[in-house]
């Protein structure tokens, strides 16, 4: 029995913690090493955003696009974008409106994008068309 487990059981025996708290602590102890061993550290975290396009628009000469962008680059871009001065944001908003895109850049918070990037590992976009196949995913 490990020291941590014994300590928790001792605290439970001495009524320093409740049974529920002991259960949570034991679960945390059981969970931490197993997830670490399974994932091998942080290797489970996606590192790259991949975009793969396979187009067969031209007869007999397919166009293939394979793009791999590190998520660290995306994060750095987000941080750089957050430094954009207010007048520049207004210009961007105006340009977006002219293109018919109703997005207010001022409303996009870096923390929100950071949270989105944390969860982007689950993202998979598959577009299957007669002329092209597009896949966007993280690896």
């Amino acid at each position: 029995m490990s020291n941590d487990r014994r300590q928790i059981l001792d605290m439970l025996a001495n009524a320093k913690i409740t049974a529920d708290e002991a259960e949570r602590l034991l679960a945390a102890i059981d969970g931490a090493p197993s997830t670490g061993a399974a994932s091998g550290g942080t290797s489970q975290q996606p590192r790259y955003l991949r975009v793969v396009v396979d187009s067969e628009k031209d007869e007999g000469s397919p166009t293939k696009v394979n793009i791999r962008v590190p998520l660290s680059l995306v994060r750095a871009g987000v941080k750089l974008g957050a430094l954009m001065p207010a007048p520049a944001r207004d210009h961007v908003n105006q340009a977006l409106r002219e293109k018919g895109i109703a997005i207010d850049v001022n409303q996009i918070k870096p923390d929100d994008i950071e949270a989105m990037l944390d969860q982007i590992g689950e993202l998979t976009v598959d577009v299957d068309d007669k002329k092209a196949k597009v896949r966007v995913f993280c690896e």
Partner: protein, 84 residues
């Protein structure tokens, strides 16, 4: 850290361009960057940008470039850009 970039371009006529760019040599420009740093900081302050945040963001962008891979294959041209 970004070390080098490989650029390969092939057009439909058979012209091939292969470049290996040692980006790590750009660190030799560090003294120049240090020299212009005060002016950059003043410019940032005029534009109401935190110069430290800007420097960190640019450094992050530079470091994040490592691993970028862009490959386009078509009938007219093949382009490959790979940053290590």
């Amino acid at each position: 850290m970004t070390i080098a970039a490989t650029v390969r371009i092939e057009d439909g006529k058979g012209t091939k361009i292969r470049l290996w760019l040692p980006l790590i040599l750009l660190w030799l420009l560090l003294p120049v960057a240090i020299l212009i740093a005060p002016f950059s900081a003043i410019f940032c302050l005029i534009k109401r940008i935190n110069p430290i945040s800007a420097a960190c963001a640019l450094l992050g962008l530079w470091n994040g470039l490592s691993g970028v891979h862009v490959e386009i294959q078509s009938a007219k041209a093949n382009v490959l850009v790979h940053v290590v």
